[in-house]
């Protein structure tokens, strides 16, 4: 890939301080290939629940615009999320729903990679496929493989140090981030 540096933001679907997915999110910069910078996206914690009446009477809340602007400015977005009740956490879906209502919809044509961690055996496999489906409507470019499903994450992530202690998991993530950099280059609009 040409030496252009890529700026990617990461969105964590969990708000919990000790979230396993937040641990993964924080580890991403140290696992990224050279030339790929990963920063956390502005939080969606303060988004009100979407209501078209709010949008009509007061416009978009400032935190919505902040997230949307960050997505627009990024070369790609990595979503790291838990699975709630076999699907997308409501807070994350609400954030996507708000952002989707903006003109110049920020996810359109944007490269996206997905990751999920859960203590169960599937590691959040079902949330990823629901997210992929929503991303079809948003016209994003979602990376296919390698997929990152961190199953049985309680033994792989260290809640005390906030580190990924499982070497295989670290390597999977490294591979995905390298593949994501290549993918971003392929789907970029050529001059």
């Amino acid at each position: 890939m040409p030496g252009k540096s890529l700026n990617v933001i990461s969105i964590c679907g969990s708000l919990r301080k000790a979230s396993y997915n937040a641990i993964v999110q924080r580890a991403l910069p140290s696992l990224a290939p050279e030339g790929l910078t990963i920063r956390p996206a502005p939080s969606f914690a303060e988004f009100p629940l979407y209501n078209a009446d709010i949008q009509t009477s007061n416009g978009f809340p400032a935190p919505v615009n902040a997230l949307a602007d960050a997505i627009r400015a990024a070369d790609g977005v990595i979503i790291v999320t838990p699975e709630y009740n076999f699907s997308i956490p409501g807070g994350l879906k609400n954030a996507i729903d708000w952002v989707s209502r903006l003109q110049n919809q920020p996810f359109a044509g944007k490269p996206i990679a997905l990751q999920s961690a859960s203590p169960g055996p599937l590691g959040g496999g079902r949330v990823q496929y629901d997210l992929r489906r929503a991303m079809v409507f948003l016209d994003a470019f979602v990376l296919n493989k390698p997929e990152i499903f961190i199953g049985g994450c309680a033994s792989k992530l260290d809640e005390k140090t906030g580190e990924i202690k499982d070497e295989a998991t670290r390597n999977f993530i490294k591979q995905q981030l390298a593949a994501f950099a290549t993918f971003i280059a392929r789907v970029a609009v050529k001059a």
């Binding site: 496929y129 992929r132 489906r133 991303m135 079809v136 409507f137 016209d139 994003a140 470019f141 296919n144 493989k145 392929r186 789907v187 609009v189 050529k190």
Partner: protein, 190 residues
Amino acid sequence: MADKQLDVLVICGSLRKGSYNAALARSLPALAPPGIALRDAPSFAGLPVYNYDEHQASGIPPIATAWIDAIRSADGVIIVSPEYNWSIPGGLKNAIDWASRLKEVPFAGKPVALQSAATGLLGGSRMQYHLRQSLTSIEAIMFNKPEVIVTFAAKKFDEKTLELIDQPTRDMVKQQLAAFEKFVRRLGPR
């Protein structure tokens, strides 16, 4: 990329002669932009049901090779398929399963668009989402929107000639093909 005409392969998921999906596939050349040349994939009708033992003993059958080579050489692929029991027709899935067993999976990095027609109200959309999931595993690059989901197909094709006569549907297909051309050119060669 230069404006070379794109070679796009059309795969129909139904084998039935009077198939609405085959009729939809036949309508495509007339609705395609000048930058796309469409050709029909060789039939997968004679493909044996995938069996790893036979694959090991006899290799890939010639009929599978022809189907796979057609995919490999195309700039993009459009799959037009009915929904069987809320999912991918077994015959089409079997053909994809054969293709997936090659060392260089022909769908990998290939732009793929989906279309479906059905006589019901959902137009085969459930099949499309299963197909998307399956093609994700073999690294196809899936086109998003506009989707072509032809609902109430019996009203949209001529009863006798099976020509696609519904103008809004024709417009929807035209829009998808135009957008797919841009998508394939955006991705460029693998």
